[in-house]
């Protein structure tokens, strides 16, 4: 007979302890493995709320007055070539990024002059930037803000940088560009993947 089985039969307290441990392990495993599913549920609910919020006149007023707080809907980002269509919120805090993608508050608002920065999840919370590495030069990125729509065009191949290389979201007044960041490789936060694009059609401009 297995010594472990013999030990358990001889010690009722060990059986009770193992019973509790197995329940804890099972609950933890379900929790860990179900985490991505949970984040997607949170993301879907958040996006439903943001969809309503971004179309509201109150948000437009707040946007124009620049009174946006962390987690407020900011812009809709569409990247047709990789199927991205999600609402970006203000801020890149962990709570804000539960919406999927967030705008770096230190950068200009979408469609404005300068370097507009947006971070997005790659594997959880709807994983909007999951396929960011597949973007190619010339691919179009459309930002729809409460006050207008503008279009950017990818001008450089995606590149991998270290997490502390924040120069990519530093503002540059002489440029009209958009920088997208996400984690790399998938499922890891060891590096960051960066895609940069240049404004090709500003708010109110014809094609």
């Amino acid at each position: 007979m297995d010594p472990v089985i013999r030990f358990l039969r001889a010690n009722p307290w060990a059986r009770r302890g193992l019973s509790v441990l197995s329940v804890v392990l099972l609950a933890s495993a379900v929790g860990v493995l179900g985490y991505p599913v949970y984040t997607n549920v949170v993301h879907d609910r958040t996006q439903s709320r943001l969809d309503r919020e971004i179309a509201s006149p109150e948000l437009k007023q707040a946007y124009q007055a620049r009174k946006l707080t962390d987690g407020d809907a900011l812009t809709n980002i569409k990247i047709p070539s990789i199927g991205v269509d999600t609402v970006v919120v203000e801020g890149t805090s962990a709570s804000a990024l539960r919406a999927g993608a967030g705008h770096y508050p230190s950068t200009p608002l979408p469609c404005e002059a300068g370097n507009v920065g947006i971070a997005g999840h790659r594997t959880t919370y709807g994983k909007p930037f999951n396929q960011l590495d597949r973007l190619k030069m010339g691919d179009v990125i459309i930002l729809k803000t409460p006050i207008g729509t503008c279009t950017y065009e990818v001008t450089a191949e995606p590149r991998v940088i270290f997490p502390n290389d924040t120069s990519v979201v530093r503002n540059d007044p002489s440029k009209q560009m958009l920088t997208l960041t996400t984690c790399h490789p998938k499922g890891s936060a060891a590096r960051r993947l960066v895609v940069q694009a240049t404004l090709t059609k500003g708010v109110g401009q014809q094609a």
């Binding site: 089985i5 620049r66 002059a113 009209q176 500003g202």
Partner: protein, 469 residues
Amino acid sequence: MAGLLLSSMIGGPSASAETTVVSPETYVGSAAGRALVLRVASISASSGVSSAKLDSTLKAASEGAGSLGLPVFSPNSTKAEVSGDNKNDTKTKVCSDIDLPPDVKAALAPLLAIGAACSSSLAEVVNGQPHSLSEASVLNVDVTANTVLSSPTLAPIATVKDTVVGTLLGGLDTVNKQVSSTNSAVPDLKLDDTIGEMLTRLQSTKTLDLKVGTSRSEVVTNGSTVTSTATSAGGVLGLLPVQLPLAAGGTVTQNLVEIVIGSAKATATYDRVTGKSGTPVYDPAIVTIRINTPTTDALGKVLGVNFKEIQVIPGVTPALIPALNAAVDPVVATIVKACPDAPNEFCVLYGTPFETRIAVASGRAVSNADGTVGAIADAVKIHALKNIGTLAPQLDGGILLELAHAEAGVGGAPAVTNQLSAPGTPDNVVTPDVPRELPRTGGTPWMPIVGALGLALAVLSRRALVRSH
């Protein structure tokens, strides 16, 4: 913050970081020039076409075409385009000879020649300042109808003499005789002899010689000002060039009538700081008709009057030009007059096969509903050799020319800014800092492994518990 960026970009006073942009600045400038539109027989072509444009997205584009609508031996069009800061696209000058379309070449090749056409283009953005420029030109257009005139099967020279002498220069002879009989200072020039000699010489030269200038379009952003300028340099149209003997010997080629088309220019400016456009400016082409007949020269010398030049200014009709009044100057009035069927147009050699009509349009400034403004300097329209079809059926209808057209436009809107705190007090400004690290958006790769391990241990422990019962 964005306001600071924008104001520094447009070169205006630097705003402090407390100003933010609600909507970004937009501006656009465009210019277009055209040296020549030519319609003869079945040919319709534009030559010397240039255009330039730029906008606030730092896109600049320019395009030049030496010739459009005519076959060329090699490309004579250039196009330059850039998008983004500190980029340059320069297309150096390319020229190409122009060939006539095959279907009309057989009929018109001996009569019509069009010179090489050239163009160049530049588009660049330097330190956030877009600039676009293009130039285009067609060198010359020659109508050598004299070969037709001298052809006995098409137009015997006698017919030409009768037509021209009878309707034009014969009249001059009559006038000359009348003047000389009443004014002893004016000699009898015996114009019939001169005319006969001139027509004989005409056979060895061209009928019409057109030299067209360059069309240039440019839009430049210089600090806070966007300026669109289009210039078409006009040209010189020589009608009936003849070789005249020089006193010192030899000959000189002189046009019977020379039509000089001045340059047309249109300019529009936009101030990016104030968001206002300046008053558009246009300089329409002014046409000068030079008459080079021996008669005019002789009478002018005797009477002390310059009959040689008549300036045609937009808005001035033939009736307002004293020299064209037969009572004032019967000689000049015979050569240049108001067209009987169109009093606002000038007719040169009216009633002859070489009748040429000139219509000079004025420029105009336009203001559009969207706030953009523009200036247009309209083309000079010349219908040359209107009745040449009686002598050369291949050229029936004559040659229609539009020269020196220029137009420029600008517009825009400044950035709408929102003051968040008092200017000049940067300490009050709360500007979010650049993060020390880019946010984590990818989780950890160990999570699935930990989850799977936990699940395996839970299963194993449950099995052990079951077996221990």
